[in-house]
Amino acid sequence: MSEPARAATAPPRPVPPGAGDEHWVGDLRPGEREVLLDVKTQDMEINMGPQHPSTHGVLRVLLRADGEIVTGAQPHLGYLHRCAEKIGESVEFLQYLPYTDRYDYLAAMNNNLGYSMAVEKLMGVEVPERAQWIRTIFAELNRIGSHLISFGTYGLDIGAFTPFFYAFREREWMMALFEKVCGARLTYSYIRIGGVFNDLPEGWLEELGRFCDVFEEKWVEYNDLLSHNHIFVERTRNVGILPAEKAIAWGCTGPMLRGSGVAWDLRRDAPYSMYPRLEFDVCLGAGLKGTLGDCWDRYFVKLLEMKESIRILRQCLRQIGPGPVMADVPKTIRVPAGAGYVGVENPRGELGHYIVSDGGKISRRCRVRGPSFCNLSILGEMMPGTMLADSVAIIGSIDIVVGETDR
């Protein structure tokens, strides 16, 4: 394993007077303006969002631009704030589970898993093996689904419509697989505290095997369609470069961190569920088309991860055995007094739950660390000095789900 780069003490951008003001958007570094702009005009403030096709939801980014060059950017959040953490302090542990579906609604299974694992940790519950296998299968299947959306919408951001529909073709099958298990297509609440809600239906695993076969063929198609398309590469390479030290310092996780070449994957480095018994590679950005840590690297890591997920699914299919799917957990869950943090590798990075329990039915504090929230925080650093079209490419490559940034 390569040693992760040392977090450098990269100083933040110089803070001009007026920081803390609602209209403060930062500025270019000293000297940058002279290099980037031939014709200097007055800067213009533009609102990108909250209703904008490329902000992936109701994110609002206040941009300042001189012509096509972005000179400052400041994300404004909160348009989709639904008080998840406050609700967590008001409802019982199991009742909160459906709310976890709604943070990163593209990876609801992974959210269920993260929350269930956090509560199980505080309860000291051992989850049965079959349930663990099923959880791993669903976490990986949902990772594929989530990355498919990310792949498709990134194509849309860059201006290619077709990959989106190709991605949805396979995602539709994946959703049907979910539907067969839990009846829901988006908000599953299938992984429960102590195991999973129900055993798999007859023939489901065989269908999953067929899905894996078909998906591997289609994966090649995605690459042909978008990854190596000359225009796409030109639009994404050397754009939004995120050095490894900076990614670590700003708390970026998931494909964002791995795109910068840092081999960090909780599935391998802090293994949970059945991952210790599975063999898979951590996909890394390598600067294949441009500089390490550019948009193309971040994009391609996600594509590679889909393939790794198929590999994991195949191994799960070989190893899964019969058994109970639910631990002996009472209907009304009382969690012993304690506090703990559990992080799981979501498609977008580390989803953390910090739960404080006083021994009762309701948690004292249910903190959610959404990966999109942390990954997005570097946006204001990455945008100044890029072009307006690049800002779309950067937001797309950060791959946020606003349900999670705002919770």
Binding site: A337, A339, R365
Partner: protein, 183 residues
């Protein structure tokens, strides 16, 4: 390969970092007054489950974080999370939680600093970990914590004119907001 909590604590003590008050077991860490004695458990019961915490003096947070980050044997490079906890309505203190991650040693560490509710001020960690920026903004608006030296201490999820701190236990839900009924 991962370092245990005891190893980390031992190293910190060996370095003589000022500000480390105590180590807390998970049950202590969930109490409003972490240093108060915990009643003895029934023999045979497992637990407590959760993470051990390191109780740190709030004023010394930046120093502790810097040592944790820069010491070659600790190397907690990533600040995964910063948040606050209001343990109870009658509690005198708010807890501020820092979740650190060492990529080099595959270790996670949870820090807790207590600040009085009456004056919940502590220094900001943005200088050491830029990742703290948004987390501190969120903790600030939700729990009324004031991170001194934060470059951009605006609200992040709530609107700028929101009254009260929603995650405080004594928070009263507003009846209306700008003429919009909330009940």
């Amino acid at each position: 390969m991962a370092k245990s909590f005891e190893e980390v604590l031992g190293r910190l003590q060996a370095l003589g970092v000022p500000g480390v008050i105590a180590s807390l077991d998970p049950e202590q860490a969930s109490k409003a007054d972490p240093l108060a004695p915990v009643p003895a458990r029934k023999p045979g019961t497992k637990g407590p489950f959760g993470d051990p915490h390191l109780l740190v003096e709030a004023k010394r947070i930046p120093e502790v974080l810097r040592t944790l980050r820069d010491d070659p044997e600790l190397r907690f490079e990533m600040l995964a999370d910063v948040t606050g906890v209001d343990y109870a309505k009658e509690a005198a203190n708010l807890g501020v939680i820092y979740v650190l991650l060492s990529l080099a040693h595959h270790t996670r560490l949870v820090l807790r600093a207590d600040v009085p509710k009456a004056a919940p001020r502590l220094p900001s960690a943005v200088e050491i970990h830029p990742a703290a920026n948004w987390h501190e903004r969120e903790a600030g608006e939700m729990l009324g914590l004031v991170f001194e030296g934060h470059p951009d201490p605006r609200n992040i999820l709530l609107s700028d004119d929101w009254v009260g701190f929603p995650l405080r236990k004594d928070y009263e839900f507003p009846v209306e907001y700008h003429g919009i009924s909330c009940v």
